[in-house]
């Protein structure tokens, strides 16, 4: 049997059979799913906790039907005894009340006061402030003799439609979703490089410190040992990732059954014509269906395919470097920290470029970052989320992939030479300069 395969199998099985692997692989997606389900639950759920009475002695709210909005509700009262309202506040029937005095001038600058029993939270204050201002604004516009249509046109926020050269419509939500997907996948690769890179490094350190390295290299070439370890751990990562994808997709399909509102809203969306209603519905439902629609424009098989390519490419590129560092470390695991710096720097640098690239996928920094093999696995994900060729032209994608394969071969070649010397070297911690020399000594 091929020795590299034997080693990879041991590395794979010894990790997959651990309890922690099962825990992180199954529990993590459940945790993430539960987290998002909670967020969605709270954003979908209409809270009816806040009821504000408006004692309208100036009769400014007469022609306005109080809107049934999600969380803040206004009850307009022509007149009411303030003592009665105070009691209602104490009995928790209403949150508070606003008294509009009889001489209140709607076009003036007077402020009104809201009375409540205890202090209201900052976010809720902002909501009440905005809703009440909206009410007054509409009333003021009516006072200026504007009709409903004119008011809508003033309040229309969507005056620009973003279109690409090819004439394709490009909705804000789609850009937002691309941003989210790009950021998420780039960040995921960033995390993966660190988690699995460190795993490789620890594995190499374990072999060196347990003094098993020399036993093994008397039967297997050091290069095979290193590659076996890297492929074994890479397989762990891939299996873990696939389980996650399957679990998350499965759970996402369950989502509409748990929250029927979401399903309805997404199916309603295509029937709504014009930006007006879309904007109006966005106001009401927090843009959820817009996001769902944006998600549907993303080419997920393509993203997942390229993700796996960049995940593997980036992992292979960095894993051998992590292995080289692991081979250089002696007794003290702390030594790894300083040796790791030249490896973690480009990863962090890539992360910084990615946060820029996800906004401007075609900026020169993004193009450079997505070509350079040390940063491309992270940066390219940010561009790919915007699609081909909007985010990245096909030739750039192919060039980047080629460079990544070349880069991975180069780092593996270099790291293998350092590794070969390092695993048999005991004694003081080497410097990077010494490790560089190792790469060029004869075996």
């Amino acid at each position: 049997m091929n020795k590299t395969f034997l080693i990879a199998r041991r590395e794979f099985l010894s990790r997959v059979q651990k309890k922690t692997f099962l825990l992180t692989t199954i529990l993590l997606p459940l945790f993430i799913f539960g987290f998002y389900a909670l967020i969605i639950y709270f954003s979908v759920k209409t809270s009816d906790n806040i009821q504000i009475a408006i004692v309208d002695r100036a009769h400014i709210m007469d022609n306005i039907l109080p809107k049934h909005s999600d969380d803040v509700q206004f009850i307009i009262l022509k007149d009411a005894s303030l003592n009665d309202l105070d009691n209602q506040i104490l009995q928790k029937k209403i949150t508070g009340y606003i008294l509009v005095p009889a001489h209140y001038n709607i076009m003036g600058f007077d402020t009104l006061s809201l009375k409540s029993d205890k202090s209201i939270g900052l976010l809720t204050r902002e909501k009440i402030q905005k809703k009440f201002s909206d009410l007054l604004e509409e009333k003021r516009l009516i006072a200026l003799n504007l009709n409903k249509k004119q008011i809508d046109s003033i309040q229309n926020a969507n005056t620009l439609q973003f279109t690409s050269l090819e004439g394709k419509k490009d909705s804000d939500a789609k850009a937002g979703v691309s941003y989210g997907v790009g950021y998420f996948s780039g960040f995921l690769i960033y995390i993966i490089l660190f988690i699995y890179g460190t795993m490789v490094m620890r594995g190499v350190m374990e072999e060196k410190m347990n003094r098993i390295a020399e036993v093994i290299v008397s039967s297997v070439k050091p290069f095979k040992l290193m590659m076996g370890k890297i492929t074994g751990i890479g397989a762990v990562g891939l299996v873990q990732f696939i389980i996650w994808i399957v679990l998350i997709l499965g759970l996402t399909m369950l989502l509409p059954f748990i929250f029927p509102q979401i399903g309805q809203q997404t199916t309603e969306l295509p029937m709504q014509p014009g930006a007006m209603q879309a904007a109006a519905s966005m106001k009401n439902s927090g843009g959820l269906q817009e996001v769902m629609a944006g998600l549907s424009t993303i080419n997920f098989p393509f993203i997942i395919g390229t993700f796996i390519f960049y995940f593997l490419g980036g992992y292979l590129l960095y894993a051998s470097l992590f292995a080289a560092v692991g081979s250089a470390v002696n007794e003290d695991p702390q030594d790894a920290q300083s040796l790791l710096l030249p490896i973690t720097m480009p990863i962090i640098f890539a992360m910084v470029i990615m946060t820029k690239a996800v906004n401007e996928p075609n900026s020169s920094l993004a193009v450079f970052g997505s070509m350079f093999p040390l940063t491309s696995p992270i940066v390219m994900m940010a561009r790919i989320a915007h699609g081909v060729p909007d985010g990245v032209p096909l030739w750039q994608l192919l060039l980047s992939m080629t460079l990544l394969v070349g880069g991975f071969l180069a780092t593996t070649w270099l790291a293998a030479k350092i590794y070969r010397v390092g695993i048999l070297m005991y004694g003081k911690k080497p410097t990077w300069k010494e490790m560089w020399k190792w790469a060029f000594i004869k075996n």
Binding site: M1, E206, R211, E214, V215, S219, K437, N443
Partner: protein
């Protein structure tokens, strides 16, 4: 103490019949030192060979070249009559390095199986051999234990088994008895004899000279990357003998002054003498017999390998390198 003598490396044993391993002018230079500097010797098949030297002498570098872990800068290795090919020949070698260990979290049985498979054995072959050895060394009940649960001696035993499991032609053991209690050390020693009898060649590297004297047929001593001694243990002892004798009498002799010898040590009626060159042991005996005392013991004291080792290492370099002396 011995008077340092100028000793030329002995290369009389260059044409051993039936050599399993021949080293021809091996050199390995590192940036700061000559780890191995032009070393040649041969090892007879089926022998137990001792490779000795103080720390940093180049033993490990030499062993790593023999096991194909590193390549010599210059020189050739002939293994079993053919130029050494690390890819094919490592299967025929079992190497237990001084710096050795096992996967702590792995089960004993799986670990032995893994290491045997890495040596190229099939799963079935490996399993039957592991069962054989585990039974032989009373390790059967360990199969599902983890290495971290074993004592140091137990894991040394396991390490030995994994080294010899694939029936290598050449077994290289670097300090094989470290961490073993006398009972287990004897167990392993017996196995080493048995393996040698069955035709395996054993290279035995250690600082423990009394073990070398007991076990090895042939030794090579290296220091500072160079070979400084090569020969059969008995021949070397003869070669380094200082004509020192022990003589004991029932009563004290009347005179101890004679041109043929000089007394270096006295304890009661027990004397240690050095016989001067040009005289024979019988000259001494005749001198005492003439005094009418009864000689109750007379024997030659051969130097121990430890003495030879210290003497040679110190004479090849002004400052002796650190090494373990026999307690």
């Amino acid at each position: 103490m011995f008077i340092p003598i100028n000793h030329e490396p002995n290369i009389n044993y260059y044409n051993v019949m039936n050599a399993i391993l021949q080293l021809h002018h091996l050199k390995k230079y590192y940036a700061t030192q000559k780890a191995v500097d032009d070393i040649s010797f041969e090892i007879e098949a089926g022998s137990i060979f001792g490779l000795l030297g103080p720390n940093g002498a180049g033993k490990t570098t030499l062993l790593r070249m023999i096991t194909g872990i590193i390549y010599p800068d210059e020189g050739e290795i002939t293994f079993d009559g053919k130029p050494f090919n690390p890819l094919d020949d490592t299967v025929k070698i079992g190497y237990m390095p001084e710096e050795r260990g096992l996967y702590k979290k792995m089960k004993i049985g799986e670990q032995a199986l893994y290491l045997a498979q890495l040596k190229g054995l099939s799963r079935a072959e490996a399993l039957s051999k592991i069962r054989f050895w585990f039974k032989k060394l009373e390790m059967e009940s360990w199969w599902n234990k983890k290495v971290e649960d074993l004592s140091k001696g137990m894991s040394q035993k396991l390490q030995f088994v994994t080294t010899v499991l694939h029936e290598p032609k050449l077994i290289i053991l670097d300090e094989p008895f470290s961490g073993l209690d006398p009972v287990n050390a004897n167990l392993i020693k017996d196995e080493i004899y048995r393996l040698a009898q069955q035709g395996s060649t054993v290279i035995f590297s250690t600082h423990r000279m009394e073990q070398v004297e007991e076990i090895c047929n042939h030794i090579v001593l290296v220091n500072l990357g160079k070979k400084i001694l090569d020969g059969k243990v008995q021949d070397i002892k003869q070669q380094f003998k200082q004509h020192t004798f022990n003589i004991a009498f029932d009563t004290a002799p009347a005179s101890l002054i004679h041109p043929s010898f000089e007394v270096v040590h006295q304890k009661g009626n027990d004397f240690t003498l050095i016989i001067h060159s040009g005289f024979r042991s019988n000259d001494v005996l005749q001198f005492f017999i003439a005094q009418n005392v009864n000689v109750v013991a007379f024997n030659e004291i051969l130097p121990s390998l430890n003495d030879i080792f210290i003497q040679l290492v110190e004479s090849t370099h002004s400052a002796a390198r650190s090494f373990e002396t026999v307690q």
